[in-house]
Amino acid sequence: MSKDIRVRKGLDLKLKGVADKSIVDAPRSSVYAIKPLDFHAVVPKLVHKEGAKVKAGEAIFYSKYDEPVKFVAPVSGTISEVVRGAKRRILEVRITADAVDEHVDFGKMDPNTADAAAVKTRILEGGCWPFIIQRPYDIVASSEDTPKSIFISVYTTAPLAGDVDFIVSGKKEAFQAGVDALSKLTSGDVHIGVGKDSKLGSIANAVIHKVKGPHPAGNAGVQIHKIDPINFGEKVWVVAAEDVATIGNLFLTGQFHGERTVALAGSEVADADRKYYRTIIGANVSTLVSNVNTNETRIISGDVLTGDKLDNNQFLNFYHNTLTLIPEGNEYALLGWLPFTRNNIPSISGTSLSWMKGGRSKVDTNLNGEERALVVTGEMEEVLPMDIYPMQLIKACMAGDIEKMENLGIYEVAPEDFALVDYINTSKLEAQEVIRLGLDLMITEVG
């Protein structure tokens, strides 16, 4: 039942600063943080107060509207601070880590012999449920749902992003256990999208799809669209590859090991430091990069297209496996609008000769222009390999026209699928934000 996927539309951005494929242990962070804002649409209810001692794998908060979904401590230690923002919104739950982790023991379980309910309960209580993302809406899955299929992408195409195939191939046993467990949760199949030379082509209990093509071919959303598109009323789950291994580990060891292999990448990282670091979810960035001048360098948790801007001493996003450092572009460019100049920036526009330039580019955060009304047409379609009209969908989202959004395929997309639209758009539109707001509107109006 294997079906190969060839994606033609899209854009591979060749940027300077790819991480070398070697894995080292990162220094242990003294403080870790779980940020409720990483879990879109989740309203957190704290389990413990400041000062409480927690073990790794012990719940620190749960979802107010889906109580079985627990968010657990990645390390053992003391809840040192609950950082709140406006209207007492919880921004971070900080845990000062013990020198050595003490784990909650849930007991080993063989996902192949256990029944579906037991597997589900284990994933929920073991704190691995937040790894499961639901499409439509790109939010943490509801514990009451059964999806029509589950998707795992082991094909990385985002610029400078950590290569998940490389990360997971060292954890094959745990990955297999994770796939076994997930296959119990769906009425359909577990689909795995792999690259041509993937070492994960022999995973059992899943349908393997060989994927080829430029970014965003590696996005689960694109693979879902090609394999089993989402219709109104249907739900599909997406789990990141390393998180599948973490779920598998929960079954193999009976413990929650929130290990995260982070690729430190970007042109502003010293050559010697550019590699993969084994760390734990919610680690402080200072364990990976020393004090950075944020006026000159942007720290991004995640890849350059979809990541979050961080400051020194902030914490890695729950889901990210990449930490990227690129130059800030807060500089003026004399007559920067002249066609055929600044060809060092990769571009799909014919007004740039970037296609002639070989090698990798150093790109900064300059907007390269100003925000304007949507004028140029046809460019978004070049980078969105889906049978969807991106410009019309964006306009429907801006107008809040729910019926139109539904008809144009809002259920099939996540903001990350529009990251390249952000990049190439002549009008400097914030497409990902528009899509996110559109999805949020759908959540409140349609549910």
């Binding site: 219709n231 572009g329 920067g336 600044r342 222009g369 304007r372 969807i388 390249l420 952000d422 990049y423």
Partner: protein, 461 residues
Amino acid sequence: MKWLRNKLDQARKPFEPGEKYEKFAPAINAFDTFLFTPNHTTQKGAHIRDVSDLKRTMITVVLALIPALIFGMWNSGAQYLYQERGLSSVLDVPFMDAFVEGAILVLPLIIVSYVVGLTIEFIFAIYRGHEVNEGYLVTGLLIPMIFPVDIPLWMLALSVAFAVLIGKEAFGGTGMNILNPALTARAFAFFAYPLYMSGNAIWVHEGSTDAVSGETILGALASGSYDGQISGAASNAVAFSNTTAASETSVLAGIDFYDMFMGFIPGSVAETSALMIIIGAIILIATKVGSWRIILGGLIGGVVMGLIFNFFGGLGEDFVTQLVDSGRITMDQVLNDAGAVAALELGGWDATLLEMGTNQLFNFPFYQHLVVGSILFGIVFMATDPVSAAQTTKGKWIYGILIGFFGLLIRIFNPAYPEGIMLAILLLNVFAPTIDHYVIQGNVNKRKKRLKKAKVQLQTA
């Protein structure tokens, strides 16, 4: 360049938020961002961005217009001096003489267009508190390029004001307009001052001397005055048979296909040279700024329509020959007043056939239709305006083909509007959202069909 930046920063100070001239910030920003791409950085979404922005896109269109504009300047001067000096060919005018003369004629048009248009744009930007959009960089140049060189400046100014105010700002500014602003200007002038726009004397500067009337080829074809008034060198002996059989050379004596392709003919400032327009088209297509689908679609539509009319023209021609042979009407009647003859002596389908046979626009070879008048200029520079054109890929094909189709239909069927392409583009501007709607509806239906199928699967599972 640091000193320039510092000077600009100093000049900007009174326009900063909270300062005295805060309201006028869009004006100073327009100059500032024209000189320097601003230091704005990304805050959300993708942290890096492509180098293309609207300024770059619009400047590329201006670049693509330059060859046609330069040629237009030369041609405007050459056409004038050729009649003024009584030369035998336009090419006999010394290049620099023609260019300088043309520049003197054309530059005031460009200056008026930019000054009037940009003033309105600036006022609206300040009033609405948004940045000055780059769209007018192109519109401002396009407008003088599609006007006759002798248009009074005040008429041009009024047309520009109408186009910017009613054609664009009334809809919310660049990106929101329904009609192509440059064509709106021309349509305004066309309907408000028809004598100046469709008269036969305006297309060449002071085109009323004995040698040249200044009429365009299309105007001549439409009015049936093919007997030599155009080139001056033509004789009255252009017989009907020669006219209708013209395949390799134009119906207009003295002007052949080469002249029409190169653009050595009277017409709007920059619409005459097919060669220069093709160079512009190549720039637009290579830089992906203009849609090749619309351009190719337009050409296909034009060719198909031209062939259809040529076919019917041939039928009519045979009929006329029969009429003349049978002695029912004379060749003189055909040549001098075909419409009246038809009305008096024939009726019904016979009259239609006679009209087809004698309407020179029917018999004008299809490929020559593409190089005279503004059809090529319209398809390349007007139809490809992304705001007023169809936005979907399929829609662009349909839009382009229909423009070519209707352009020739209006041109040939209605001699009052030989420049049918302008009306065709405006018409399709209005229908572009409808075309897109049906294309998108196809996608929506596909999704609905899939949903139905999925439901069946769920039920049977």
